[in-house]
Amino acid sequence: MLILGIESSCDDAAAAVLETTQRGVATVLASTVANQDDIHRIYGGIVPELASRNHVVTIQPVIERALASAGRSLAEIDGIAVTRGPGLVGSLLVGLMYAKGLAQATGLPWVGVNHIEGHLLAPLLEHPIRMPYLALVVSGGHTALFVVEDFGRYRKLGATRDDAAGEAFDKVAKLMGLGYPGGKIIDELSRAGNHKCVRIPRARVKGAPLDFSFSGVKTAVASLLRSEAGAGLSQPDLAASFQEAVVEMLVRPTLAAAREHDLETIALTGGVAANSRLRDSLAAAAANEGRRLVAPSFKYCTDNAAMIALAGSYRLLDGARDPLDLDAEANLTLPQ
């Protein structure tokens, strides 16, 4: 079965062609992304109106590029999977409407996919992983721990109580005058810094050891930058100290969850999974306990349509098709 995946939940419009024969057995034939970082860099963040307007322009070329690079034509596609939430509603609608139009014009079955489900299954695009496994989803909009029990069966174990980890990276980069996107800049800057230079207090959520809180580290950096001690710090040292705090605050609950639920494999996914220090620390901490860390390549960590095609594939294989009145949902949650 040949599946066309479409994703436009935030600032990237993406399309992919996935070939699948049975649940979880899939080959990515093509995965393309039209990235808008250049547009949003000017504003130090994503501007929803600009994002959706740009999707309108790029969605069709991105799909055509994916088909061309897979060497397939639209006539060969057997089903369409598209993100319908969560995300920015204006952005979601562009991909969703396009998919529905395509489904109606071609008579192809289509399914609406939860973006988070895409991230949870993304590690399977490159690695066979036996379920259940633990997944840490970290991005600009999400920070959460899930048990992936089976296709379509996910259990949330914990989540952030305030800011997402990626949001903390972006906002601290802004505080430090470093630009956008913050995660990548801080990661690179940190390599030249000493993370022991200044101690950023680590936050724990009282009574909820599998939850996260990143608002305090952001405030700590803001206070530090206002203080005399902060004025004497080099940017790489401060970046490294901040990053180390965030990484520790992600690693501890993740390992605790793996122990508590006896899960051997930990999957790291979402845009922040591209952070090299997080990958190294989590891999080391996992190995230390005889567990395995699986992290997709960078292109499948950030928003992409291959993971959306995969997350829609098991339902399409079962013959499912969603009704054309299924709508986009900005705050769509995963059924527990």
Partner: protein
């Protein structure tokens, strides 16, 4: 009125007191630097409206989060926008509703100055200390500040 708080807990306690005065239809406009405690304040406001604090997340990513407490709470964050108009994002609907609209980075709203509101500015004082300035703009909001001030006097007495 000007408040001095020594911890996030104290900031939230003041927001809870404010919440007890709300009847629906109010606009709470928050201004303050990154890390000043705007989301923290709204967590307290949410508590006061019988929401659980952990339901109130930073809405930076989604821009608008709706909560159903004692009154509907529309938690809005304009951080990602340089300049935004009332007719963008359907803001008008949220700002003039039957619920409570709490807007972070209100200064990004271009027509914002002309709108009656409870204006709250949070400033860094020292490490965990914050100065919170609350100004009522428009008669109903000035009355609200007076009622809040009487609570302050009671607490100090």
């Amino acid at each position: 009125m000007i408040l001095e708080t020594a911890s996030p807990r104290e900031t939230k306690a003041w927001a809870r007191r404010l919440a007890s005065l709300l009847k629906g239809g109010e606009l709470i406009a928050l201004v303050g630097d990154l890390g000043a405690g705007k989301t923290c304040f709204i967590k307290g406001l949410g508590r006061g409206l019988q929401l659980r604090e952990e339901q109130i997340l930073s809405p930076t990513f989604t821009m608008i989060q709706e909560h159903r407490g004692r009154l509907p709470l529309y938690h809005i964050d304009l951080y990602r926008l340089e300049r935004v108009g009332l007719d963008d994002l359907g803001l008008r609907e949220y700002l003039f509703s039957e619920g409570v609209a709490a807007v972070e980075w209100y200064d990004r709203l271009s027509e914002g100055e002309a709108i009656e509101r409870l204006a709250i500015q949070i400033r860094f004082a020292a490490a965990n200390r914050r100065t919170i300035e609350i100004v009522g703009i428009g008669a109903p909001y000035r009355a609200m500040v007076e009622r809040l001030r009487s609570r302050q006097n009671l607490d100090e007495a």
